[in-house]
Amino acid sequence: MRIKEHPILNFKAKDQVSFSFNGKTLYGVKGDTIASALHANGVKKLSESIHLKRPRGFYCAIGNCASCNMVVDGKPNTRTCITPLEEGMVVENQHGKGRV
């Protein structure tokens, strides 16, 4: 799911960053946000609607719409579309409103 060839941009090979998603180890690259790393791994469902539990992916990618909120290192409502991916992060789907 990563772009390899591009007429204008040069996507050089970057260092891998490992993280866990729902207990599974996945790899992103340096410079990824959590959401972009998940998407590159084919994970589109990031959150659920609060009442009907409908699956939700990202929508705005500017940290505005809350559609990508997940639990990151135990912290709910993390806006994964603007949060840089870090080595060893523990990322989970959030169920409900989240509790601190």
Binding site: A40, R54, R56, G57, I62, N64, C65
Partner: protein, 361 residues
């Protein structure tokens, strides 16, 4: 509480240009952005800009970003940059509440420039919340900033410039654009962009919209249908396309929430994208010493945001007691520049908006 001379919220084209003018004039600037890097939406704009030469026409957005950011590096301590910092509260006495990572802190500013930009709108259809239904600009970010494909087959919704440009950029990334649908009877963006994707074989279907997205966990297909002259779907005209991504490009809404918290007056002006701040010719809001520039003032191009940024930067300087007499001519030229950018048939909406605002520049 931290004390700061000028705080700029939002480091896109408007905020960066405001910072440049303030720094040139000698003010100390605090630049806040919720993203990890500066540049706002320029970071994903791989296309060449139109507009005017003064606003870098024929240069790519990503390159303009580099120029703007590198012009700020010479100022050292005069510029404080706070990235990954979200403003979560604003008060009428110019106190700004921020969160950076897990830390909460407040800043007392003497002057504030709001350059918060805009967010992409959506439209109602069945399953419009399924993963795979993304704002077009968001897909542009995913592709051009992070190098990740949104999917393999895309339906683009909306024929404004963002819809047309992102369709082309999807193809540059090796992604198939199945079609572009437009509810209106004609293409709304520049024909030069539309022609580019037509030449590559993308059907642009006017009087057509999305009826529903199909899929349970994510988009698998989309059903589109024809619209009658009253914009109602025509039964029997439905057809299904195999797509895994639906890009929504139906306009932007100014991000005025912070201005409203602060007590600045806003007004609904449809032509400018929705609620926009009431401003005077100096781009000052109804709260003294608080300015606004860029898409938050009204949806336009990044070129206008850059000019407005410079205007607000100079005006804020004046407020703070700096002598800007030497910049009188520059200020005049900036207003002329805006007038030029708002000329022509494609800026008719913006002009109508400014007419309602009582500010035909």
């Amino acid at each position: 509480m931290k004390q700061r001379e000028v705080v700029i919220i939002g480091a896109g084209p408007g905020g960066l240009c405001a910072a440049q003018k303030l720094l040139e004039g000698g003010a100390k600037v605090c630049l806040i952005d919720r993203n990890a890097s500066l540049g706002g939406q320029l970071i994903k704009q791989t296309h060449k800009f139109f507009g005017s030469e003064k606003q870098y026409a024929s240069k790519r957005g990503i390159d303009i970003m580099e120029i703007l950011i590198s012009s700020l590096t010479q100022y050292g301590d005069q510029l404080e940059i706070m990235t990954e910092t979200s403003v979560v509260g604003m008060y009428s006495d110019k106190v700004i509440a921020c969160v950076k990572k897990d830390k909460f802190f407040k800043i007392q500013a003497q002057s504030i420039i709001l350059a918060t930009g805009a967010s992409e709108k959506s439209i109602p259809f069945e399953n419009n919340d399924l993963p795979g239904v993304y704002a077009a600009g968001a897909v542009q970010t995913l592709m051009n900033e992070y190098g990740v494909k949104p999917g393999d087959n895309v339906l683009m919704v909306g024929s404004g410039n963002i819809g047309l440009i992102v369709s082309y950029q999807l193809m540059q990334a090796g992604i198939n654009v199945k079609a572009l649908v437009e509810a209106a009877p004609s293409i709304s963006g520049y024909l030069v962009h539309a022609s580019k994707i037509r030449r590559l074989g993308v059907d642009i279907l006017t009087n057509t919209s999305v009826k529903r997205a199909i899929g349970s966990e994510q988009v698998k297909q989309v059903e589109i249908w024809d619209l009658d002259p009253t914009w109602q779907g025509i039964e029997g005209s439905e057809r299904i396309l195999d797509v895994d991504t639906i890009c929504i490009s139906v306009g932007l809404a100014p991000l005025t929430e912070l201005l409203q918290q602060l007590g600045a007056e806003v007004r609904y002006i449809k032509e400018l994208g929705g609620n926009v701040p009431v401003i005077d010719k100096r781009y000052e809001t109804t709260v003294k010493g608080v300015y606004a520039c860029g898409d938050v003032v009204g949806i336009e191009e990044a070129s206008s945001a850059m000019v407005e940024g410079k205007i607000t930067g100079l005006n804020a300087l004046e407020d703070l007691g700096y002598d800007i007499r030497a910049s009188r001519l520059e200020m005049k030229a900036l207003h002329e520049e805006l007038k030029f950018l708002r000329d022509g048939p494609h800026a008719a909406k913006v002009r109508a908006g400014y007419l309602k605002r009582g500010m035909l520049t």
